[in-house]
Each structure stands twice: as C-alpha cells, then as structure tokens.
C-alpha cells in the first residue's frame, strides 16, 4: 500500500508539466469576469469558441449543469403561434450536425415539441458523489467555503480587516487559512486541517499529489478540471480576469491555476474524510464517466434544442431581411447640415432614428464609442485611471483630466480641497466602520440619517457622490475636461504628440468612412447611463470605453479633429475638412436620452446658430426616443414620460433604470443610407461602413475582428443571462450583495455571480430580451470577408461554429447572401428561408 502511494506520487511528480498544462487548459475554458467598477459584457462561452455551438452546449451542461437553450416549451410556443415556420425548421435541420440522431423533417421536430429535454448529465466531482452517498449537501459546503475565503482573498477594499494571505498566490493563501479553519471538521470533514497543512505550499506540487490521490482517469482530466473550475465558476471567472489583464499587458499569471487547485484540494479532502463511508467506491464507479462522451440521447436532445433555437433565429432573420427588401441605390453625395456620430450600441439606433426623423438635414454615423482613441483617462487628483477602450486593447495614451481655464495655482488649490474632502470622508468612514468608534458614531450621527433617508427616498440626494464628481463643487465639475498637451504630470507622460494626433485623426476618419462632405457641425457622441444605487451601473456605460462613459474619448477626438495642425496634415493626406466644419464632443445619456455637448465655448461665433439648431434637434429627438422606449419602461401616460424617465435615473430603488442592450440581435455594417428610416427597434448595432472607400479592406478587417466580436460578446452575454440566469446571469437584483467591491453574491453566500441580473432581461411578466445569437450583416464583397475569415482563427471560429450568423448586403442595401460555413455562401432565395421572404 505504502509503495503504491509512493509510486503514484513519483509518477504524478514526473507528469507535473502535463498536469499544469491541463490545469491551464481548464482555466482557459472559463470566461473572464470584469469587476463592477468597469463591468463590461463578456461572452460566457468565450473559452469554448473552438467548439461548435452544440458541442459547447454539451460541454457547459457537463461542466456547469447549464442549459444553453430555452426550455423546450418556449420554442413549442413559437412553433404553434406560427412564428417559427416549417421552412425555418427544415432549414435549421439542414444545418444541424450530422453525427447526432435528429428528426428528418419539420413534422418530426413538431412531434418532439412536448418532450422533456434530456440534458447531458453533469460530470461528477467527489463532492457530488459524496452528496449522493451520504445524503448531505457537500457541493454547497465546498462552494460556500471556497467563496467565503475567495471573497476575502480577492477583496478590493471592502473589508476593513484584509485577509492575511492577500500577498500570496491563491493556493498558498488558502492553505494557510484553511489549515486554521475548524468549520469543515465540525461539518464532518474529518482531519481537514491536518490534510491541508500536509499539502505542499506550491500549487503545482500540490496538484500532482492531489490528482494522484483522486486517481482521475487520464482521458478525463480536462473534463474534471473544467468541472471543478465551474463549480466555483464566479470566482474562477474573476481569477480568469486577472490572468486576462496580466496577459494583455504582456505578463503571465498563475492566479486561476492556483485557484483551481484549491477546489481540487477540497475534493481530495472529502475523499479522504468520507472515503470509508462508501464515497471511495462511488467515486471509483463514477469517475470513468469523465473520460466518456455524453450519452447519445442527451446529445440528440441538445442538438434538437439547438435546431429549435436556430429555427427561432431564422424566423427573426426573415423579418430582418424583409425590412431591407426595397433596394436603396446610393444617392448622390451631398453636404448635410449636421452630422452626428454615435456609438454602435443598440441604444443609439433609437436615438439616431429619432434625430434623423426630426430633421432630414441630419445624418448620423455609427462607430465604436471610443472613437478610435484608446486612452487611460486619469481623473483629477489621481495618478492612474481607467482604460477607456475595448477590453481587447490596451490604452495607447494617457490623458489627464484638468480644470479648464484654471491656472496652475488654482488647480492645485482645487486639488487640495478635493484631497481634504476625501481625507475627511475617509476619516468619517473609519469612524463609522471601526469596531470601537461605530457605537458613538451611531449615537452622534444616526438621527441625521433620518434626513438622508427622506431625501434619498425622494430622489433629491444621491446615496453617494458619483466618483467623477466627489469632493468637487458643481461649478468645478462643469469645467472638467481632458487635457491634450504632451507633458509630464505626476511622474507620467500625458497627452498626445503632434505627429500621433495626425495619424490617429486620419485613422479614425478612415475607419468611420468619413472622408468627404463634412457638415458644418459634426457631433461625436459617446454614451453613458445615469443610475443611482446600482451595483451594475458601469455595465450600462460604454463597453467600447471599457465600462466607462464615452465622454472623455469623444471630447479628445473632437479636440484633436479641431486642431488646426491636424487639419493641415489631413489635407496633405487627401482628407479636406472644410474650414467651417467644427467637431463637438458630446455624451448621450442612454437612461434619459438627453445629450450633453462639451467645449461649445470654443466654437467660432458664426456657428452659434448651428449650435442652437442642434440643441433644439437633440431635445426633440430625445423626446421622441423616450416616447418610443416608454412602453417597455411601463410609462404609458403620454405627458408623464419625460418626467418618468428622469425620475428613474434618480431613483435609488429602481432596479430597471433603463433596458440597456436588451433585445440586441443584429449587427449591421453598411452606409447609413441603407438602414436610414428603417425601424430596427433598438435591436441593431449600426456601424457605418463604405467598402468602396476601404482600400485593402483594412477597415473591414478591423470591423470583423473588433466591433463585430465585441457585439457578439454582448449578444451572448444577454443570451446566456436569459437562457440560464442561474449559471450565466447574476440572479435577482433584490438579493444582490456587493462583495469585495468587485462583484455580487445572491444573499449571504454561494458563488460570485456573473453576467446580467434577471431584472435586466425580464420585466416580471415577460422576457424583454429575446435570446438570439447575433445576426451580422455586412455590406462588403464576399471575397473580402472570406479573406478575413480565413486569416483570423477567432473570427472563423465564431462564424463557422455558429456563435454568430453572417450575412452579406449588396450595394443596393438588400441582404443577399448568408454565410453557410467553410467559406461558402448561400444566396438567399435559393433556400426555403428566402422563399419565405418572397412570400412575406
């Protein structure tokens, strides 16, 4: 016996590199989770993109017990109501994988609509097996114990008494703490502390010992480790984010690997403690399943669910294609009075349509809301700031917030005031939260909170000042803005060198397909939301700005495009911006549909009239946009809509201040005149793109590798949070409990939650977000798109494995082709779907 153990250990140690690789692979199947301070959308299936959608669904069912489609009844309803036609079903069946047993025709699918779906069974862990044998809820004990510890370990400043092991890697930190924790032993995990203390401190060595003890079948190791990671999936996702950040900046990070070993240790501890009670035998019996494929009936059932989901998407695509049925040849180019560029965000679609409907002399443009300027924006009084760019990028420039028009001494003075107020706040908080002073604090100040309770309830005060405005007077806040000058500040180089300004200006105009016919006023509008007391507030801000508002990026872009040297340089490069064209930075408030304009005092005097006109247009457009959104906000009374929307933005008890990107379903990259006036119901990302101006298709490549990917992340985040909120969503907002200043728990304990709250996709009566994979429509030559798909493995995985759909639009604005996989395209009209279009 002793020899055998020794042998196993030796073998395991020798196999260590392979084991570390396996742990690393398992971790990479986990999608990262961004902290609440800059919460951005993530595709929960991110780590599985190299699988087909169906295989991904099966993998998630095995690892997390997750569903990747809606309940069968949801589709049955759509079939019976006629929304999904037999044509849709037949088409979806034709695209289904060949290696599973599926009905041969639509009638066959209809016959199975009332079957209960058979999900692939969840892969076993020792905790699961032990729960079955001993009839106690070990998985919950393990998840909650790991979660308690992880909350302290990853805490970003919520606890006053930080966890002792924060400086160590997760495994070493956990080992030190768990060796002191009597709780598991009281709960029946005998010898837990001694077991933990006996483990090596190094996670690699520990992993070798632990896997040897668990004797996981060779072919099942990957599945097992993935299963373990997903059993504490929220914290694993947060650890994955740390890895993501490190790697983005060129480093490496073991956080997630060491974290997975913590979960591995728990399984081994349970096996050791409960083995004699029959858990050993049960584990020996269960673990071979790890190395086996999912049962055929579960595979077939999952594949059928995916067919039904695909049919639903085809039904929606039919409606989309029909909206673009009328050909719209390009008209002669003309100069508009006002151009306004908005983020591609689906919320802009409503506002853009409203704005254009108010005045036909306005043209709107769609572009990623960071306007091509990946910056780190350093707030006044700090030396570091947030990365305001898509999370796939790193900031190329550091931009400092300044008080406009303030002399150096005045700014220093204001900074001093801000620091003093922050210090006072800190002392206040310490007074409030410390063990000893909190009693007297309550007696000194408690009654005063009565007034705050009343004003917070009435929406007159904010629970806490917004971080961008705290410690500053209103008049100063209004003067804040980005500083472009290149210089050193607080030990860092900030601002833009002149040469870079020109290069960036040229790049961004090219990427927006905006090289001629500039209007007198060109608005660049980023976006942000206004909500109070909402842990997920930054999730409603601009994803392209890394979970911040787009204000700084829009203002930087406008200031640079107004720079006379830049204009001269652009002219030399063939982009002639008329003398009388002025760029204006702006922020579209997606909660209230109000647009704030910035730096307008720098406008030439003869633009005053244009500015007035613009302000009126924005106001009128806001009113229309709010009216359009009113029904889903349950604001039915016509006159009260504006007030109702404003009240929501100030309401500390509002769990649905706005609907965010709920409903998003399409991404359209085409000239605006192809989609103008077409009611897309706030469901489409609209990217302006003219392939004729795109020499070498560099811009197309950018669109297909960045905005398209980000849009698919968003759509899949909404998708996952809708189809299985328990796994991919963050649950019920009324139970949310902010943990570590980085995420939320539901209630007391349990795993860290990821994704969107249920309230963000459901209004209590019905789903506001219809779960659909993104349908991407691009007006570009098919060969050009194929070249990009072929070049980028990531893009190819997305389109070939059906994580999104791709369509081609012709020069007349008609959607003509559907990507069929393997660089093949089908002309719409040759298949059943298009026939249905003709009929409709």
């Amino acid at each position: 016996m002793a020899t055998e153990t020794l042998d196993q250990t030796t073998t395991a140690a020798a196999a260590a590199p392979a084991l570390t690789d396996a742990i690393d692979r398992a971790g990479r199947k986990v999608a990262p989770l961004w902290p609440l301070r800059h919460f951005v959308a993530v595709n929960p299936y991110f780590g599985l993109a190299d699988n087909s959608f169906t295989e991904g669904a099966i993998a998630m069912a095995r690892a997390a017990g997750a569903r990747t489609t809606m309940p069968r009844a949801y589709y049955a309803e759509a079939v019976r109501s006629g929304r999904i036609t037999d044509g849709d079903l037949a088409e979806a069946l034709a695209e289904a994988p060949a290696d599973v047993e599926l009905p041969t025709d639509a009638a066959g699918v209809r016959a199975l609509l009332d079957d209960d779906a058979t999900d692939a069974p969840v892969d076993p862990t020792v905790a699961d097996v032990a729960a079955r044998v001993t009839r106690r809820d070990w998985p919950r004990l393990v998840t909650e114990s790991v979660s308690f510890w992880a909350a302290g370990y990853f805490d970003q400043g919520l606890a006053s008494w930080p966890a002792p092991g924060q400086g160590l890697d997760p495994f070493a930190a956990w080992r030190a703490e768990a060796a002191l924790d009597r709780g598991p032993e009281i709960m029946g995990v005998k010898g837990f502390r001694a077991f933990v203390a006996g483990l090596p401190e190094d996670w690699r060595a520990a992993a070798a010992e632990l896997t040897a003890e668990l004797a996981v079948p060779a072919g099942g190791l990957d599945a097992y480790l993935h299963r373990l990671a997903m059993s504490v999936g929220g914290w694993a996702a947060f650890a994955r984010w740390r890895v993501w950040e490190s790697e983005l900046y060129g480093g490496t990070d073991d956080t997630l690997n060491a974290f997975v070993v913590v979960r591995l240790a728990w399984d081994a501890a349970l096996l050791r403690a409960l083995g004699a009670k029959g858990v050993s035998d049960a584990w020996a019996e269960a673990k071979p399943r790890l190395a086996e494929p999912a049962p055929a009936d579960a595979r077939a059932a999952t594949a059928l669910d995916v067919v039904l989901q695909a049919a639903l998407e085809k039904a929606w695509q039919r409606e989309l294609v029909a909206k673009f049925k009328e050909p719209r040849p390009a008209g002669p180019p003309s100069r508009k009075a006002i151009q306004a560029a908005f983020c591609i965000d689906v919320r802009s679609e409503v506002f853009r349509r409203a704005l254009e409907s108010v005045d036909p002399e306005v043209e709107t443009i769609g572009f990623a809301g960071f306007f091509g300027f990946p910056i780190e924006y350093v707030p006044l009084g700090q030396t570091h700031g947030g990365a305001q760019c898509p999370v796939l990028l790193t900031p190329a420039y550091t931009v400092r917030e300044q008080v406009k028009g303030a002399s150096e001494p005045e700014e220093t003075e204001l900074l001093g005031v801000r620091m003093l107020r922050r210090r006072a706040h800190k002392a206040w908080k310490a007074f409030k939260r410390e063990a000893v002073s909190s009693f007297a604090f309550v007696e000194t100040i408690g009654l005063g909170f009565g007034a705050k309770l009343v004003t917070d309830t009435l929406g007159l005060t904010r629970t806490v000042a917004h971080p961008s405005a705290d410690g500053l007077d209103k008049a100063v806040v209004d003067r804040l803005g980005p500083e472009l000058d290149r210089r050193e500040y607080g030990g860092r180089v900030v601002g833009f060198p002149p040469a870079d300004r020109l290069a960036m200006a040229e790049a961004v105009l090219g990427a927006m397909s905006m090289t001629e016919n500039f209007a007198r006023l060109v608005v660049l509008a980023g976006h942000g939301s206004t909500t109070v007391n909402n842990p997920h507030a930054t999730g409603l801000d601009c994803g392209a700005c890394g979970g911040h508002t787009g204000e700084a990026n829009a203002r930087v872009a406008a200031l640079i495009l107004n720079d006379p040297d830049v204009r001269t340089g652009l002219k030399a490069k063939g982009i002639a911006i008329p003398e009388d064209t002025v760029f204006v930075g702006a922020l579209h408030d997606t909660t209230t549909d109000e647009v704030q304009l910035y730096d307008t005092e720098q406008l030439p005097a003869d633009h005053a009239g244009d500015l007035e006109r613009l302000k009126h247009l924005l106001e009128a457009a806001g009113k229309r946009a709010r009216a359009e959104r009113a029904p889903i906000l349950h604001l039915r009374d016509g006159t009260a809509v504006d007030d109702g929307v404003a009240a929501r933005a100030r309401d500390w008890s509002q769990v649905r201040p706005e609907w965010g990107l709920a409903g998003c379903a399409a991404f359209i990259a085409a000239p605006r005149d192809k989609s103008r006036g077409r009611a897309l119901d706030g469901r489409a990302f609209l990217h302006s793109y003219e392939w004729q101006k795109d020499q070498g298709f560099g811009v197309l490549e950018l669109i297909m590798t960045a905005p398209m990917v980000v849009a698919s992340w968003i759509s899949l985040q909404y998708y996952g949070s809708t189809v299985d909120n328990a796994v991919f969503g963050s649950g019920n907002k009324v139970l949310h409990n902010v943990v570590g200043n980085l995420g939320v728990l539901e209630g007391n304990a349990g795993d860290l939650r990821q994704g969107l709250p249920w309230q963000s996709v459901h209004d209590g009566d019905e789903l506001i977000h219809e779960p659909l994979r993104l349908s991407v429509v691009i007006a570009a030559p098919i060969e050009a798109m194929n070249a990009i798909i072929e070049k980028h493995a990531m893009v190819r995985q997305l389109v070939d494995h059906r994580w999104l759909y791709l369509f081609a639009m012709d020069d007349d604005g008609v959607i003509t082709h559907r990507y069929a996989g393997g660089l093949e395209w089908t002309r719409l009209g040759e298949s059943g779907g298009a026939a249905a279009v003709e009929a409709a």
Partner: protein, 509 residues
Amino acid sequence: MLGQDVLAALPGVILLAGALLAGLSRRPARAVGRSLAAQRTACALTAALALIVFFGGRIDGVLFALDRLAAVVALLTAGISLAVQSYARRYMDGDAAIRRFFRDMGLMAGAILTMVTAANALVFAAGWVGSSLALASLVAHRRTWPAARAAARRTALFLGVGDAALVLAALVAVAAFGTADIATMAAEATARAGEPAVLAISALLVVAALAKSAQLPLAGWLPETMTAPTPVSGLMHAGFVNAGGYLLARFADLFVAQPVLMGALFVIGAATALAGSLAMLVQSDVKRALGWSTVGQMGFMVMQCGLGAFAAAIYHLVAHGIFKATLFLGAGSVVQEVRDLDNAPAARVKGPLGVLPAVGFGAAALAVVALPVLVAPATVLSGPGLVLASFALLASLHALVVWTRHPRGLAVALWPGVLAVAVGLLVYLGGTGGMVLLLGATVPPLPATVPVVYVAVPLVFAAALILSWTGVPRPFRGLRDRLYVRLLFAGYRPAGGGHDTFSHRLDAV
C-alpha cells in the same frame, strides 16, 4: 378606557389590516397600493398620537397603551416601515411573490407596533411572536431556494428560543402577579424582587431579548438572513432586532431589582458588541458586514441596559435604526464609494492655521467638551455615565487619529479635527440627554454607581483600538490569523441533510 385602547391599538391594526388586504389582492399593483395606503395612514396616525403623548399624557387602555417610551419606538417603526415599503414599491416590481412580500412586510411592522403599544404581557407576546413568524417567511422569500429555506429555518429556530421564553415569562407572570398588565407588574416588581417567580420571569425576558437582538450565544441567525430581499433587511435592522432593547426598557422595573441579571446583560452586551464589531471588520460583502455591525450595535444597546442607562439604550436603538435602514437601502452604492486617493500629485496641502485661530479653535473645543460636565455633572460623572462617556472618548480619539494620520495631516487637520470631535461629542451628549428628558419617568433613572470592575470593558475596547492603530505585534500574528478565520466563518453553518446536488438548478429566479 375602551376609546383609549382603540386609539393606542389603531396604528398596528391598520398595518395588519393593510397587510391582509394586500395578501388578498388579485393584482400586484393593487396589493402594493393598499399596503402603502395603510403604511401612510398608520405613520401619520402614529405621529399624531406621539404628539398627544408628548404634549398631553399617556394614552391608557386595558390591553393597549401609549406612553412616551412606546410613542418613540412606535414612531420609529412606523416611519421606517413606510420608508422601506415606499422603496420596495419599485424595487420589488415584477417579483413573482410581490403580494406575499407586502403582506409579510405589513404583518411584521404591524406585529411590532402591536407589541410596542401593548399594555398587556400576553398582547406583547403575541406581537413579538408574530413579528418573528413574518420575518422567517420573508427570509425564505424565494421559496424554491434551499439556502433561503435553510436560513429561514435557522432564523425560526433561534428566534423560537426567545419567543418560547417570552411566552413562558408571560404565563408565569399571569400566575405570579394574577394579571398580565405590564404596569401592574412593573409597580410590584421592586417590592417582590426576592421571589423566585419574579426572578424567573426576569430571566426568561432576558433570554427573549437576547434572541431577538441577536446576542451571544444566539447571534448567528442574523447575518444569515440576507436571503431576504434588501428592504426586509432595512426594516429588520431598524424595527425588529431592536425589539430586545424595547423589551428590556419596557420591563426595566423588573430587571433593575435583579443585579445578577443586570450584570449578565452588561457582560453579554459588551461581549457581543466586541465580537459583532470584530466580525464586521473581516466581512468582504456589504450586507454581512452590515449584519454583524448590527449584532455589535445591539450588543452596545444591551450593555447600556445592563448599566441601567435605559434612556441611552432607547436613543441608541432609534439612532441605529434610522442609520442602518438607510445604509441597507443604499447598499448598492458601495462600489461608487471613494477609495483612498492620497497618491494625488501636486496637491498643495494648506499650511497650518495661524496661531490665533488655532488658539480660538482650541478654546472653543475645550469649552464644548467641558460644557456637558458643567451642565450635568451628576449624570456625566456617575459610574454608568463614565463608562458610556469612555466609549465616546475612545471614538473621538480614534476619529482624530485617523483624521490626522496623513504624513502632513497633523499640521493641517488637528484643530478642525478637534473641533469636529467636540461638536460630535456635544451632539452625542445632547442626543442622549434629550432622550432622557423625552422619556422622563417611563424608564428608571440612571443608577448612581456600577461595580468598579465594569471599567474592564472600556479597557478591553481601548486595547482593541490601540491594536487597530499599531497593528498586531509579530509574536501574536498567528493568533490574529486564527481569529480572522474564526470571525470570517462566524455563524456560518450550511444546513446538512437535503441531498440536492444541483440545488441551484432548481431555482426559479
């Protein structure tokens, strides 16, 4: 007399009726509307009755009565309940069980008001038990969630201990005094203090108060109640857990004659105050931190009762209730709270104040500190007064240390800090003193002395405070980490049993 009964009982009855109507409503919007209408009416009525009591006199019925003590706590309960339900109207919008939610919230507040306005021990017990049941139902608001059901069972079990003790106390009291009238019991308590039955009643009441106010060793249920929606926590921390303090004040005449029980209250309260506050420090999630903080605050309140400072305890109960309800309802804002940002470049810290203003500030500060001593020396310098004042002083000292800790802070911040602390002290003493005046004779006066050994408690707190400034010395760090782990998992025991491997899969969100 009947009229007075009706008057005193009315706010509670309105809430209970509103709750039942809400529960019976067919449409959610109507349930919410009815419930809120009842809340508004009850709150306005309570305010009117409180004015009558403060400026007129006691409303005196047979089963229900309203004196100054009851009026203060009733006003707190009705006010917080209204604020919390106004919040819940939008917060809970779309919840599948919204009618049940408003029903239970109304029942909980109505039961508490019934208890507060009770003149009869049996009525008091009915309100007390009713509020426990309503809370347990709210903790399991999402019925399909195993964690919520487990937390509700736990809550019911711990509170059940206290509820049983209270019911038993009421029954023994009826047997011993021949009446369940609280005023009669109070009047006779001192004379009959030596009787075993009276001691037994008092001891049972203590057990009841300890369970309701989550005191050691019955504290563990409270931080586990976060499976309830946020507004429940708001009401619970403001109107429910402090019922223990109200019970102690309401039956104070029974306790003051029992030095052993008073000593026990002081010790348990102090221990809970320390343990709860330390457990708060290690929590990384906002709601559990607030929950443990409440445990500590309730410990302080019970400790005040143990000192015989019932008016101070009621003041603490009110101030804490308002404070904690606001914090719970605003708990979603914690992410946006400002963090330490002392790394700012080029911030010019203002130089020290001139000598003259400094002296002026100093003089003003000293005057403010000295004032209470001059105005009410007997109170401030009495034994219990000194114990309580020492907490205020420790807190002031701590605030000052934190405020001036910055490398350049002392020069800048010393005098404003001293002034702020002095003003704080004044508010503190003024508030407590005000409550003493407001409650008048409805609670026993502050005793003149307490055992000298009580000074050990402020000393222990002082030691903890000093450790928080200096850090724990190296040889004791192992001990510190052990304590950390104990505190982190304090009160956490997942319910075993139920084989539910993928319990989360069964959740209806």
